[in-house]
Amino acid sequence: MNPRLLRAALAHWRQARTLTLLTVFGVALGVASVVCIQTLNQGALAAFGGGMKAVSGDADLTVLGHGPDLDENLYPTVLAHPDVTAAWPLVRAWGRLAGHEDAYIEIVGVDVFAPVRFPVRLGDAGHATGDVTRFADLLHVPGWVALTPAYAEELGLAAGDTFTVAVADRLVTLEVGALVDFQRAAPLASRKLALMDISQAQHLFGHRGRVQQFDVQVRPGVAPEAVAAGLQERLGPGAQVLTPAQREQNAAGLLAAFRLNLTALSLISVLVGVFLIFSAVHASLVRRRREFGLLRSLGASRRQVLGLILLETAVLGLAGTALGLPLGYAAALLNMETVSATLTSIYLLSEIEQMHLPPLLVAVAVVVGLGGALLGALLPALDIARRDPVVLLGAAGLPERLSRLAPRLALVGVGVAAAVMVWYLGGGRAYKVSGFVLAFFLMVVLPLWTPLLLRETVGRIPPGGFGWRLGLRGLASRLQSTSFAVAALAVTVSMLVGITLLIGSFRATLDTWIGQTLVADIYVTGASWQRDLGQTWLADDTVDLLVEFDGVAAADLQRRLETRTDQGRRVRVVAFERRGDAQRRKISRVPLLAGDAETVERRLLAESVALISEPLARQAGLDVGDTLRLRGPHGTTPLAVVGIGYDYASENGVVFVSRATLEGMFGPGGVAAVALTMAPGRDPGAVMDALRVALDGRAVELRSNQRLRAEVMDIFDQTFAVTRILQAMALVIAVCGVSLTLLIMGRERATELALYRCIGATRGQLFRLGLSEGAGLGVLGLALGLAGGAVLAMILILLINRDWFGWTIRFALPTADLVWQGVWILGGAVAAAVYPALRASRTPATELTREDLL
């Protein structure tokens, strides 16, 4: 390619600044949405990996329990394996910092005599300066803990300072013994990690005789996988031996659905961006047809013309990518906190504290930006390249062909829709991704139907005056430009409406569900509940005080833990026990999807059986009467499934059993949470105040029914917060598309506008006509998008949700949200029309040339 030719071609884009800016911006936003989501996805996994590396160092294997912990007496068995050169136990606990709302610390108790090195740097208050390790202090100073310098600074702590943390309902005083920069060893490790002696940790946090894991180093030259198998055999089914890769895989699996959904959403922006590129390149090429005609007449081949067009589009694509990368990264940073909160509150994973843009992601961004731009430019470029020089050099504009092609395109759309449905019904349904396939093809079919719909609806509107109807009719006369803007907007609106319907329906379903299940008046948990999710226990005397407290009629005691099924599926096991009034109540108030309530209640109390949540039933293919096998410290326990209940607390699945059944599997244990029901006539607020006084000095959290419901809904809203930025990005791209289309239309029909001026239309009239065209594009995109959105909502709720999460979501119409979105979309379309309408209104009557009109 001659560089001069490319420079000349790019000069056009420099002159058409608005067109260029909108095109680059469209690519940038598409790239940004992908970069944003992938950065967050990678950040989530990197945070887990970073935390693992910081805690376990270069351990080759990790031994974990089924349930919250392991018996420390397994340690000799681990060490006895001939290929294990070293092993060290770890105790882990989450503590909430007293005096800091929502500030947590993850405390890791380590065996200081274990052959593992931590990058310890002692503080300077009361300790010698320099890089030396004072094990003696670590052992004999009560509550000695090493903090990261970053977190110590954030909390305003220095070496030698003391601070208090709450673990379950215990208040523990710790002393900053050293500042340890874990991030030097593991750059992605959390700054909230803290290190202390294991025996102190066991003593202070109530883990006597228990550890969370053993990290293992194997003999050099021996495959860790082989050692893992041997160790597993020696330790029996009560423990699981995992390689670091397996642990990361487990975390990735846990987040798979969350990540896939966000990725799919971000790709919608790319699709909308491709439409925008198509419009821009098409408009640019039509405007420059004589330039290409001249090149062809001077001897340039079709391939050279095609190459030139694609090359200049590639330059725009790269410019958009360069802009989109920092934009996406900034969007990821803005959303880091909310995604992080979702990871910790729902998936029990580490917080994302820092993010990076790895080279692979930069490469993905380039592929998306460049690929999207070239894909968008390909059809118009091929169209220009294959035309004869005579046609290109001719005075008349290129004929509007889309109007003629509209029925054929619609027919292709019908064919595609039919083929996809045949595939789906004929076996495609079996694939988990089939819902995404349907959603994708919905987004393909909508644009294919758009030209015909426009032609046959607005194209038949009698104008009747110089107003919006004439504007709409004009839109139908330039399908080559307008149908892409309408299609892009329709795809975006479909996504907006589909997701709004999903979220609204889900929210309404959840609201109904918590109304049925959260019926107690006061909920009591340990202070660190939000992080350890009840895997730590309240002291027995705290529980007794609560159960016997004046005004309390009944108490539901809950114990919960996380384990796996024999197929490796992570599940939450929850056991209830009712104390207090003799009124007949369900062990769990879970509304049933399958099974008889009376039978479920009776059998749960009398036998080792389970009520399982809907997601678990769907994902594991279990039904009433089947057997669920849960792993525990004593091996696998079979539990007959007596019922399936609606539950929205965990997408991985929840197993409800009696407390006796849980203790039979995991041994005796304490109570993680207590739900209190007031005696008739007692004011829950007054009882809660009295409880606060009685529980002074214990780290417990008291929540009213109303507050707990609000917290549940807050977590729900937080989970979907990141989708809003994706929706906004797609909407901005689509609105750019409206602006671009109207600018293109203004240029293409300068003659028509000049004619209006000749017959006496004022600039104000032309401006209003332009605005009404913008509104028209908005209304058309909205109407088509509403239809697409309704179908997409059904796919999301009935297929994708069921396949990936397994919940039953009842349709609800979030009217207010939809109305507001409609207002935003129409407002955006009209706002996008202001500048093009202003430009159109300045068209002089002298622009009347022979082109374009009859």
Binding site: G459, P462, P463, G464, G465, F466, G467, L470, R473, G474, A476, S477, T751, E752, L755, Y756, R757, C758, I759, G760, A761, T762, R763, G764, Q765, P844, A845, T846, L848, R850, L853, L854
Partner: protein
Amino acid sequence: MTGPILQFEAVDRAFPLAGDRRRHVLRGVDFSLDRGTSLAMVGRSGSGKSTLLHLAAGIDQPTAGTVLLDGVRLNDLPDTERSLLRRDRVGLVFQFFHLLPHLSMLENVCLPGWVAGDSATATRARARELLDRVDLADRADDLAGKLSGGEMQRVALCRALLRRPPLLLADEPTGNLDEKAGRQVMDLLLRLSSDEGAGLLYVTHSREQAALADRVLRLRDGRLESAQS
């Protein structure tokens, strides 16, 4: 209203070129046109005929001199007022018809009425009446793209006359038609403008068509060189 519908008094029009240079397209043009009369403007390409029509329609403004449309001085009038004056008092016919292809014949004729905000019913009735007078009433609902050149110009003529403008300006109205169609259109133009009592100013290359007007003026290098009654 009495007096000429259009008056040019010592009108100059020059366009700036690079540097301080200017290109004079019209120099000291003086003439007037009465209602119900016709005036043909002849001249070679580039002689300033189209510029003269633009000035007469208020699309362009003179560099010097005065243009009076129905007694209203167009010089220095704001754009909006010139647009409204054009809307109410001028009908324009172009060489290339300029019909909107996505509208029917009837809708094309109705356009000036829509722009003016006239009653839709009255506008349609008037448009049908005009199409009937040019023998196109039975095809009123056909899209404009289906017509022959002569038919398109007849529709354009109806559009220009829709609001009964006292001044009709035509820029080579037969320049894009064959001889027979051109003659038909010229006859219609003269007859209809006369019937409506409008003053007609048309630009043409054809001596034969110029001879059909009440008066003929010749433009050469921007000056009115000769005039005959």
